[in-house]
Subunit: 241 residues, 2 copies
């Protein structure tokens, strides 16, 4: 019986970023990642610092815990990580169980690994990591993932975190690469200090203002949608909300 | 030759609200409204205070001015008001001219009047006004508009501005009324003082936090997406951006 390595389950809360920004959702965060982004805001999922919290759970048990926690207060579940695309058949079973209860599924992954269950995800975000992360995406693998999702008419988007000019150029390169595919293309302004306490909204809004300026002055970025992390604006760096 | 009463043309800027939040867009604001919402943030379009600025323009002249202002820095135009649905054939011609240049069109209207050119709009927002506005929407007319758009498979959404509990109840009533239609349903937190100068972001984020709380605790509002006006967060109450 295949299982899911679960780091945390929480909600209901508000999805603060990307293609379903504002959507009321429960969150399931899986443990384990094939990347080690320098600015990862969930490094505890892969750096060993909270490994004693990881639970290997059967898909039905994750579903059960969601229902206990969220009751009838949700119809959407967001699966994030770590990288949930590292998980195979157990994830497929979990998504199918949610769909049986008319619960929609959003999922975010960096596009470093394909899973056939991507086709089942209602709102799929592919988030290739920019230079500031220290990672180097495999663009041919990414091409393959995008092609499959397009052919399947999946509801998916690209989302690039942008901290600096080099990240913006990376996003522009990808936007040009997939321009003909008309994929919804989001930029998410980076949170340069996810450990900072207190109200960080002024700093984040200032960063967003900078990103908006970059997008507005660039005719190769007409179609992109630069957005903040709304949850960080409203709730700063609190965990588990 | 039919013309469009134009209040202002500006951009490129960022669409700060609703279904295409974050989209880089040019704005065309038409003059004239069949409503007089108490908290209207564009009352200058209908209260006579800036009537000398209104220009009666041919659709091709509006297009020309957009190109002069935005050059090759846009592929999306947002039409707002006032109520742009008061305009007939001239608006149809204008939208068709934009589509000829592969420019997409977003449009917002309160749902108090139907126009056949609604079918041409790429991102159509129907925004019935809640009790705090002092207006009383005609729900049978709204039903008819929703039915037509659904039958046509238009890409449209509902958006309700929420200032207080009564507005939230109004939004809930509408959400239940159209639940079976699976229409994307946005809430937009009200800006209680659109004339206030200085940084209003803290006040707006506090209001959004309140609205998120209302949505999270209500099992009849699982599907709605409560969002801020991002442009007001980043740029406060500046006009023409």
């Amino acid at each position: 019986m295949s299982k899911i390595p679960v780091m945390e389950i929480f909600g209901p809360t508000i999805q603060g970023e990307g293609m379903v920004m504002g959507r009321k959702s429960m969150f399931v965060r899986t443990a384990g990642c094939d990347y080690k982004c320098s600015w990862c805001d969930s490094a505890f999922t892969w750096d060993g610092s909270e490994k004693e919290r990881i639970r290997m759970m059967a898909p039905m048990d994750v579903f059960q815990e969601l229902k206990e926690l969220g009751g009838d207060h949700f119809d959407h579940v967001t699966i994030t990580g770590g990288n949930p695309a590292l998980i195979g058949d157990a994830m497929k079973q979990f998504i199918e169980r949610l769909h049986q209860s008319n619960i929609e599924v959003g999922l975010e992954t960096q596009g470093s690994k394909w899973q056939d269950w991507f086709y089942l995800v209602n709102d799929l975000t592919i988030s290739p990591k920019p230079p500031s992360s220290g990672m180097k995406p495999d663009l041919e693998l990414l091409d393959d993932i995008i092609r499959k999702l397009k052919n399947h008419k999946s509801n998916f988007s690209l989302k690039i975190v942008v901290f600096d000019d080099a990240d913006f150029e990376f996003a522009k390169m990808l936007n040009n690469r997939y321009m003909g595919d008309h994929i919804p293309f989001f930029l998410s302004v980076g949170n340069s200090n996810p450990g900072e306490e207190g109200d960080i909204s002024s700093r984040l809004l200032h960063s967003l203002d900078w990103l908006w300026g970059k997008v507005l002055e660039d005719p190769e970025m007409n179609n992109v949608r630069p957005l903040p992390q709304l949850h960080a604006l409203v709730w700063s760096n609190k965990r588990g909300v």
